[in-house]
Symmetry: C2
Subunit: 217 residues, 2 copies
């Protein structure tokens, strides 16, 4: 599948790009700057030893891809969506954003819609299938593509089929996804990230995560 | 330690009572009806094979105990707190309540304070140390005291020492507690329960839970 990762030069983008590229997907790194996107794509291809990742500006990346992922820091969430709204119509859009309080990342500062996921769905409209995913996965661990990650991926969204598609892409990375309900469930899943940041700080680690138990794997 | 479990005749109370009694704690089951509390206490003592559990009305139970736990269904949260407010002053109060939407337990219906934990802290005042705990632990698994539980206990509250005390009591049950921050963090931890209920329904199980990963155990 052709996957664009908007804001793909930031914290979580390169790890997602590498892991999907290793699983055989075709990746486009999106950025506000094409030059920056191309530079990061070249670095990742060098790491891969083959050329599976390209760099483009966000709107072109979103246009070319079948499925689009957003990994910008939350203050750029809505402003980035504004630049790609038309390109996302009819597509699955995977939102990784977490509305952390800019003054204290151990707290949330939720948008009026309740969560970043609900904000995105409201802004993009019903023809874009928004699926929230990966918010709880440590960027640090994600970036080391051969390091196993002990963290499940909780999927939220209003379209069951879109969640099944994303679940398959999560599995290709060697992770387990669970459908935890509609977009509204993202209030909890996004919020969990601030608790994990808090635990990382308290225990001086970089990769706390969560596993669901008592369920089929 | 002398522990009262208010609403202890309901879903989670008997499991907590049995597990703590087995660990050597002295337990008082509280209920609106003393008769009902005594009946459940007698049943649990029969199961234990010794008499470590008594039954009392909620206010007397709260009065006698050093630490008080509340496990009533959320619609009885505030009305029960009203009956024991003076008895809880100066004590640690462990709130297990989850504000599920009465019309759909897969959704939350949070009080204006943000969570049941914050509501309790606001109502009881600063001289009661409110600690949220056990919301994500399956009542079904808790009730089988020799069945190991694969679920961590996330502690929220504004008093670090009170959380350390509760952490010790969690450990006595063979579970692992993690301090995930102030009372406000309970918005996430309580919310997680609705996602676990959703997963239980979807996967036809009774005991889904969560484990934190990447942290010292």
């Amino acid at each position: 599948m052709k996957i664009a990762i908007l804001g793909g030069t930031g914290e979580q983008g390169p790890g997602l790009a590498l892991r999907w590229a290793l699983a055989g997907e075709e990746i486009i790194i999106g950025s506000r700057s094409r030059e920056r996107a191309e530079k990061v794509a070249a670095e990742l291809n060098a790491e891969l030893g083959e050329s599976r990742i390209r760099g483009l500006e966000n709107p072109q990346a979103a246009q070319e891809a079948e499925l689009v992922v957003l990994t910008v820091p939350y203050p750029a969430h809505l402003s980035t969506l504004e630049t790609v709204k038309s390109q996302l119509q009819g597509k699955i859009f995977v939102d990784v954003s977490v509305p952390l309080d800019p003054e204290n990342p151990r707290r949330m500062k939720m948008p009026p819609e309740g969560s970043a996921t609900e904000e995105a769905q409201a802004f993009l409209g019903p023809d874009t299938k928004v699926v929230a995913a990966f918010q709880n996965v440590s960027a640090h661990l994600l970036r080391e593509p051969h390091h196993p990650i002990e963290c499940d991926v909780l999927l939220c969204g209003n379209d069951a089929e879109a969640k099944r598609t994303v679940s398959g892409l999560v599995a290709k990375m060697g992770l387990q996804a669970y459908d935890v309900g509609p977009a509204e469930s993202a209030r909890v899943v996004e919020g969990l990230t601030s608790l994990l940041i808090r635990l990382n700080i308290r225990h001086k680690v970089k990769g706390s995560g969560i596993r669901l138990t008592g369920l089929p794997r």
